[in-house]
Amino acid sequence: MTEELTPTWEDVAHRYGRKIYNFAYRLTGNPDDAADLVQEVLLRVRKGLSSYQPGSFDGWLWRITRNAFLDGIRKKKRRPESALPEGDHHDLGSSPSPDEVLASIRLSDDVQSALLKLPYEFREAVVLCDVVGLAYDEIAEATDVPVGTVRSRIHRGRKLLRGMLTWPI
């Protein structure tokens, strides 16, 4: 039974290594810290897989990832999108316009700099949501806070970013 549900650590490395690396990179802006985190997480996964109980693997993995990240700092420091009800909302969907996409790509260095200025809790929630792609309940499990807190942190993080970024469009 667990053969189907529990991956090997090599599976985890190949399936999640890039996400873990990008998570740490966006939180720290530092490729060396990101590489250190990948190594540490894979080590912890390797040790922990034997005691892993099949369940929310993502929640389990990202809790390990987050704890490893915080330990590292201490040493140094979706559901399907709901459609709006019928109505005339022209440009108000969740999909960005082509101009927004182009502007966002040009902005990536500024976005990274702004991310690093966010308080840690907001930065973590935003990165787990927008970079890693976790749903709110998965972020809640990984960070050990209620879903409502996750929702609030993501919004407050984005709102702070909005104030720090200038838009070329």
């Binding site: 667990t2 090599e10 890039r18 873990i20 590489a35 976005v111 749903a135 909005r162 970024l165």
Partner: protein, 202 residues
């Protein structure tokens, strides 16, 4: 129902969660009404959407390849030889060995070393105990072992004599492997390699 008055501090969070598809159907209706009733709400919504888009379009970096396993078995081979892998893992390793000549070769090397270590003769402790019980000789400042050998070196020499019967105490791995082969033939089941991975003589 009374018209909703948009308050960014109260309702902005709904917009973020809407963009993430994390609202209940009732909350989606609230968002719709807010956007219908306020230009300010629309501006807030668009600004949050721009931020979210910027975050989601951040370029994704490739993880350095050196951080990821290369697909070979590495230190699991030793555990495999020692029968320490659980059944599922054992099957995975066996399957990999069928396909991977590199790991098969490494397994053979490991098995030779393992055979050598396991074939080391046991130490006859009675000999060393008898020696240890012998009162030391005190002729002036002379010691039982001449030449100023330390206790560890002396013990090693005694063990070598005990197990080697006075012959050259320097063990040769190939000789020990021969011991193992003899033991394996005398004790069915002693060999641990599966039949498919018989180690051929070098």
């Amino acid at each position: 129902m009374a018209d909703l008055i948009f308050d960014p501090d109260v309702h902005g969070e709904l917009f973020s969660a809407y963009l993430d598809g994390q609202l209940t159907p009732a909350e989606v209706i609230v968002v719709s009404e807010l956007l219908d009733g306020s230009g300010e709400a629309i501006q807030e919504f668009l600004a949050l959407r721009r931020v979210r888009t910027s975050l989601r379009l951040l370029p994704e970096f490739e993880v350095p390849a050196a951080l990821l396993p290369d697909g070979h078995l590495g230190d699991r081979l030793s555990a495999y030889l020692d029968g320490e892998l659980v059944t599922i893992e054992h099957r995975r390793v066996t399957k990999h060995l069928v396909d991977c000549s590199d790991c098969r070769a490494e397994l053979q090397e490991l098995d030779r070393a393992r055979i050598a270590v396991r074939s080391l003769p046991g130490v006859d402790t009675t000999v060393t105990e008898e020696i240890a019980a012998t009162p030391p000789l005190h002729h002036g400042r002379r010691r039982i072992v001449a030449g100023g050998l330390g206790a560890a070196a002396a013990a090693a020499l005694l063990v070598g004599l005990a197990v080697g019967g006075g012959s050259d105490p320097a063990f040769v791995l190939e000789d020990l492997a021969t011991h193992h082969v003899a033991r394996a033939s005398a004790e069915p089941g002693f060999a641990v390699l599966p039949a498919a991975f018989e180690v051929s003589a070098p």
